[in-house]
Every structure is written in C-alpha cells, then in structure tokens.
C-alpha cells in the first residue's frame, strides 16, 4: 500500500485512547482523514497490561495488520475535577496519579508488543498546563507531567528500534478542566485561539504518526495556538 499526499497514513493501523471526549474523537477523525484504519480503545481496556495487550491485538486483527500508531489521550474522569489541594485525599490522589500512570504504562507496553522489531509511532497528548502549572489542578498536572516524562524515557529506550515517542501539548481549553489559555501566559494566543482538534491539531498528529516524522522523538510540540512558547 502506498501513501499519497492526501492519504499519508494509508495502510497504517492506529489505536486512539480517550475517544469518549472531543479531543480523542477529533484526533481519531484526523487519522482516518489521513487514510489510517483506526481502532478506538475504551478506558476499561487500560486497567491492566493484559487487557491493553488484548485490546490492541483485537484492533490488529480487525484491521488486518499490526498497530503502527498509538495516540494516547485518555485520563481518568476524576483527573479533570478542580479540587483545592488541601481537600485532596488519598483516594483521589491515587485515582488520578496512579490511574493515569498505569494507563500510560499499559498503552506503551501494549503498543510495543505490536511495534517490536518493525518500528512505530507513539503520540501522548499532554496539555500545556502540566508545564505551566495550574491552581486547583495539582493531581491532574502532576499526572500529565509524569506521562510526558515517561514518554521521553520510552523514546530513549525504543529509538534504536525505530519507535518514536512524542508529546503533543494542546491548549487547556481542549480538556474539561476549566482553564483557559490566558492562565498559561499573559500573551494572547498568537494564532487567535486554541484551534480545532480535527482541522488544526490533526495534521500535527498525522505528521508525528507518519513517515515524515521519523526523525523526531522525545519532543513535546506545544500546539496551543501560540501561547506556551518554552523552551
């Protein structure tokens, strides 16, 4: 199967997590727009390594080939809730931190089983608030930053196998946390706003997921309309 400029991901099989929310759905649509066959994995399938491996294998069977692309956007619902830190209890801390990290680890491990020996692409979606910090969202930002550095470590280990692992950092408006870009920087979004997931973030994910992105790994692309410009 050959790719074309209009269908750079033709013949590729992708898994997208977190498609309960508009962010995951929009990325899923964008990958299909680019010609990929997309399997959407529910949050339940991320609870254990075995569940994730089975779910990824089912996607490979359904679409007639091993998974080439994994985009991870899923977070436990409780992670999005704003809570003053002094009211965070062990149950909430565990549900957000351990829940988010277990999901991310299982996604990496299940994806690796599909990509081992042949290469592949991981994209973690990590909103910019993990880098800027946000009051009321200590558990969420802690968990997102944990995921972002797990991605970097995996990028270092799996690079020799042709597997890239990158992060896409969208504006906070794309997740239901009640934070606007203005909280991240004094400057207004250079491009006018957080953008549309399918139309604006989609092509960036397609780039990271396709052949053109093969030399980029361990990177975080802040695609937030031009707000967070560090480094």
């Amino acid at each position: 199967m050959s790719t074309t400029p209009d269908a750079p991901l033709a013949g590729r099989v992708a898994v997208v997590t977190g498609t309960r929310l508009a962010l995951g759905r929009g990325i899923s649509d964008a990958l299909r727009d680019a010609g990929a066959a997309v399997g959407e994995i529910g949050d339940d399938a991320l609870a254990t390594r075995g569940d994730a491996v089975a779910a990824f294998a089912a996607v490979a069977v359904e679409h007639g080939g091993p998974v080439d692309i994994v985009v991870h956007t899923a977070m436990p619902d409780v992670a999005f809730e704003q809570t003053p830190f002094e009211q965070v209890d062990d149950e909430r801390w565990g549900a957000v931190w351990e829940g988010a990290m277990e999901g991310a680890i299982h996604v990496l491990q299940a994806g690796y089983e599909q990509m081992r020996g042949r290469g592949g692409r991981f994209v973690f979606v990590t909103p910019t608030v993990s880098m800027s910090g946000a009051a009321g969202l200590v558990p969420y930002t802690t968990a997102v930053e944990g995921q972002r550095l797990l991605a970097k470590a995996a990028a270092r280990q799996w690079g020799p196998e042709g597997i890239t692992v990158n992060c896409l950092a969208p504006a906070p408006e794309h997740v239901p946390i009640g934070v606007e870009s203005v909280a991240v920087s004094l400057a207004p979004p250079a491009l006018g706003g957080p953008g549309d997931v399918r139309a604006d973030l989609g092509p960036i994910v397609v780039f990271l997921a396709g052949a053109a992105g093969h030399a980029l790994t361990g990177a975080t692309l802040s695609a937030d309309g031009g707000v967070w410009m560090a480094p």
């Binding site: 003053p84 830190f85 002094e86 965070v88 062990d90 801390w93 931190w97 351990e98 990290m101 277990e102 680890i105 990496l108 491990q109 690796y112 089983e113 081992r116 993990s130 880098m131 800027s132 910090g133 946000a134 009051a135 009321g136 969202l137 200590v138 930002t141 802690t142 968990a143 997102v144 930053e145 944990g146 995921q147 972002r148 550095l149 797990l150 991605a151 970097k152 470590a153 995996a154 990028a155 270092r156 280990q157 799996w158 361990g218 480094p231």
Partner: protein, 256 residues
Amino acid sequence: MSDASLAGRTAVVTGAGQGVGEGIARSLAAAGANVVVAARRAETGEPAAEAIRDRGHEAVCIVTDVTDRDSMAACVDATVERYGGLEIMVHNAFRGATPHRVEDLDADLWRHNSRTAVWGSYYSAVLAFPHLVGAGRRGRLVLVTSPSGVEGSVNIPAYSPVKAAQRAMAKSLSREWGPHGITVNCIAPVAETPALTTAFAANPVLKERVEARTSLGRIGDPEADIGSVARFLASDDGGYVTGQTIVCDGGSFMGL
C-alpha cells in the same frame, strides 16, 4: 558557613539520614533552623542528627516512613509539638530503583519509584500545609527532584515520571499557595551521595562521563553545594522564587 537567616524557624527534611538530605539538614541547621532529621532508619537518622548537634546546632531524629500517611502525620505533629511550628518542609527521600526496560515495568517496580517520590511529596505537602499557611509568609516547601525528571532517563524509565511529577506539583502548588506567601520549589541536584557512589561503582565509565559533562568538573557536595541552595530558598532572601526547579549539577543540564 554559618548565618542566622533561619533562626527561630523549624524544618523537616525527609531522607536526611544520608546524602543530599543530610547535606540540606546540616545547612538549614547551620543557618539557625531547628531541624527534624526524618529518616526511615534510626541507624542513619540518629547519627545524622547527633552530628548536627555536635556542631552546636539544633536537630532531632524522628524515624519516619514517607510512604505511610500516618507516619508522616506523626512526624509533623511531633515536630510542631517540640518546636512550636513548622515553616520549612523539604521532601528529599527516595529509594532508588534498579535499571529496567519500559516493556518490563511491572506494578512492584513502579510502586517502588512512585511511593517515595510522589506519594511522599503529596503527604509532605498536604500534611505540612496547615502549618505552612500559618507561618506568616515564611512557609516553604522544597521537593528534591532530578535532572532525569526533565531529560528522561534511558536506564531507569520509571524514575523520570516520578521526578517530573514533583516538578509539576511544585508549579501548580506555587500558584495555589502563592496567596498565602508560601513558596514551592524543586532542587535537581547531582551530588556525592551513597546512591551515586553505588552507581559509579557499578559503572566506572559513568563517573568519567558525568564529570566530563559537568562544567565545573566535579560532583557536588551535599551540604556546601546543594544544602546552600535549599537554605537560600528557605530564607527570606529566596521569598520571591516559587514554582521553579533549581538545577544544581555543576553545569551539566542546561535545558530549562
């Protein structure tokens, strides 16, 4: 070096029985703070506290398991009872993990990294908060992280997310607690510690590589090089620095 910049203040330093934690404890005590050496084992914590007292400074060891909420709460309560308050909480304790592959990372290995670094930070912050908020804008939380929490570790992948988590905590907490005058910062050190000595012994080439990459050409001293930064952050002089990671590695990692 001795000063009185922290006179009348009380600090808890976790993991202060050795290494970076001990260096920070010594430095804070030398600046006049009452220091609680919170160590998992009395065998290291008691001598560390005694060494501080031998220098004429104030310190006491409280055996504490940072992965246990009740143990941490007991440490904070005993500190406040003994010294009348708690202005400075330093969470440094970490039980190092062995090298591993991401594909082999299991629940036990993960918990090993997560419990001391991340749960320990959470307990330190949430249990100290009632005292920090009442500290008259002198409340300080310092989390000891690592350059690996920014760069990503090729050998110990579970180490990077837990150290990054501390950095994100510091950023969000600094925004949340700023109105109370509490500062929250991270220190990312490279220092001569038992953990580093062990790592170098296991991998002699690593020592050469680290020293070659370090601009100042030497590995940091826990007290003189790292403790001094903690002392600054804890003092009034450091009161306008918050949400930051101070990388104290002799000029190796410069990516922030």
